[in-house]
């Protein structure tokens, strides 16, 4: 460790990033100070601005600096389809890959009774209001295929059923390019139950 108090503090601060230990933090700090001071000040300014301005979209709860995020504000998208995901990163992934032009609702987590995360923490009251408005015709449940994700999907499916809204769950199955022998048995049994005619 160097003797400089400021450098040490910078190294400590960089460690709040995921996957950054003391060694990488040190490398980052020295790199920024030695080779890229402009980049560093840009990073600092962007971080400050992002922290100050980015909040949650009022209608889908994803991270956004606007009251209504771009997707929610886009009138050319299909407002009758609503895809439920666990995190803003999931929205990004679906946007990049899938051919989906509907709307999203971001839970920012999943139901986890033992950790005290219930329907309110996931903003399901906001979702309930949105479903009550009658705009949504189909819910696509794209929560993670974990036990908690399934429980969340089931809970939301019941909310939809109470309002006579169609709810679908994304398919689980064998990954493309994978080999059956190495697929875990739960996935394989899902794949068998959800087989489709060709």
């Amino acid at each position: 460790m160097s003797g400089s108090i400021l450098i040490n503090r910078l190294i400590e601060s960089l460690r709040c990033l995921p996957g950054v230990g003391p060694k990488s933090a040190q490398r980052m700090a020295y790199h920024l100070l030695e080779h890229n001071r402009n980049g560093a000040s840009q990073l600092a300014a962007d971080l400050l601005e992002a922290i100050e301005k980015i909040g949650h979209c009022q209608s889908c709860r994803t991270l956004s600096e606007l009251e209504k995020c771009e997707i929610c504000a886009n009138l050319r998208r299909d407002h009758s389809m609503l895809c439920i995901v666990e995190s803003p990163a999931d929205v990004q992934v679906i946007e990049q890959i899938a051919d989906y032009r509907g709307m999203y609702f971001v839970l920012m987590g999943h139901l986890s009774p033992l950790d005290g995360i219930g329907p309110m923490e996931l903003g399901l009251d906001v979702l309930a209001k949105r479903l009550d408005s009658g705009e949504v015709k189909e819910l696509i449940l794209a929560t993670n295929p974990t036990v908690e994700g399934e429980a969340t999907a089931h809970y939301i499916a019941e909310m939809a059923a109470n309002r006579k809204i169609k709810a679908t769950r994304i398919a689980h199955g064998v990954p493309i390019g994978g080999e059956l022998e190495y697929v875990n048995s739960t996935t394989l049994s899902h794949a068998f139950n959800g087989r489709v005619e060709i």
Partner: protein
């Protein structure tokens, strides 16, 4: 120098390795960037805390396996309060839990975590838990499974309920009389009429039904549920059951 060698040797002798042991994950939470801290219920070692390093990495050997309600075979090493998981594989095909059955299963896990001490082996309870999960996945009467499991759990952890005799007089419980149940002692006959507002005043037949596990009958079913809820509440020292809150919240 010699001391250090001795110490290392002693540590190695103490460190235990357990290989492919039947277990269920009760609860997991993220730890650091890619690891999981697990609460697991093992057949012969009771409830233990384990860390699965790198379990959340894309190519982890634990990928998708460390889920609750799935019978596993796990290997671990280490002593003390936190052991390190070294391998895990699925033991047998487990039925799929759906909807309310899954909530019921979460409830079982919460009871085990709240009431069972760590490192206390309960092989019979383990067996009972496994059977209860498979009953839940078969879509049988969930409540029935839960009541039986609650009774069994209390008995296993040393708080078994006295259900067949009056603790003061020693007389057998009469089906058509009312009993005031003291959680620490047991049932005492009471002369008053049915006091519905107090869950710990119960009919003799409800106690006898819980004793025999045959609580399907409509007239004892609901009373048994309220009675067990009050007993569990007492055992938890008033701490709320979070899974139940989730169920009560089902108004959205």
């Amino acid at each position: 120098m010699m001391n250090a060698v001795c110490k290392a040797w002693a540590t190695r002798m103490n460190s235990s390795r357990v290989s492919l042991h039947p277990a269920f994950v009760l609860h997991s939470r993220p730890y650091r960037d890619t690891s999981l801290l697990l609460d697991i219920f093992t057949e012969q070692h009771g409830r233990i805390a384990a860390i699965a390093r790198g379990a959340k990495q894309p190519r982890s050997k634990f990928n998708g396996i460390l889920q609750p309600f799935t019978g596993l075979l796990v290997s671990w090493s280490g002593t003390g309060d936190l052991v390190t998981l070294t391998a895990a594989e699925q033991a047998q095909r487990t039925g799929k839990l759906q909807g309310n059955a899954m909530l019921a299963a979460f409830y079982l896990n919460e009871l085990l975590i709240q009431l069972m001490q760590r490192h206390d082996p309960h092989p019979e309870l383990y067996k009972n838990y496994r059977i209860s999960l498979s009953e839940l996945s078969e879509g049988k009467n969930n409540e029935l499974t839960l009541r039986r499991f609650e009774c069994y759990l209390l008995q296993e952890i040393g708080y078994g309920l006295i259900l067949d005799h009056d603790v003061e007089s020693g007389e057998p419980v009469q089906p058509d009389r009312y009993y005031c149940y003291h959680p620490e002692h047991g049932p005492v006959i009471t002369d008053g009429d049915a006091q519905e507002s107090r869950p710990l005043v119960v009919q003799g037949k409800t106690l006898l039904a819980l004793q025999s596990g045959a609580i399907e009958a409509r007239d004892v079913f609901l009373e048994a549920k309220h009675f067990m809820r009050a007993i569990i509440h007492h055992q938890l020292g008033g701490r709320p059951i979070k899974t139940r809150e989730l169920k009560l919240n089902k108004v959205l």
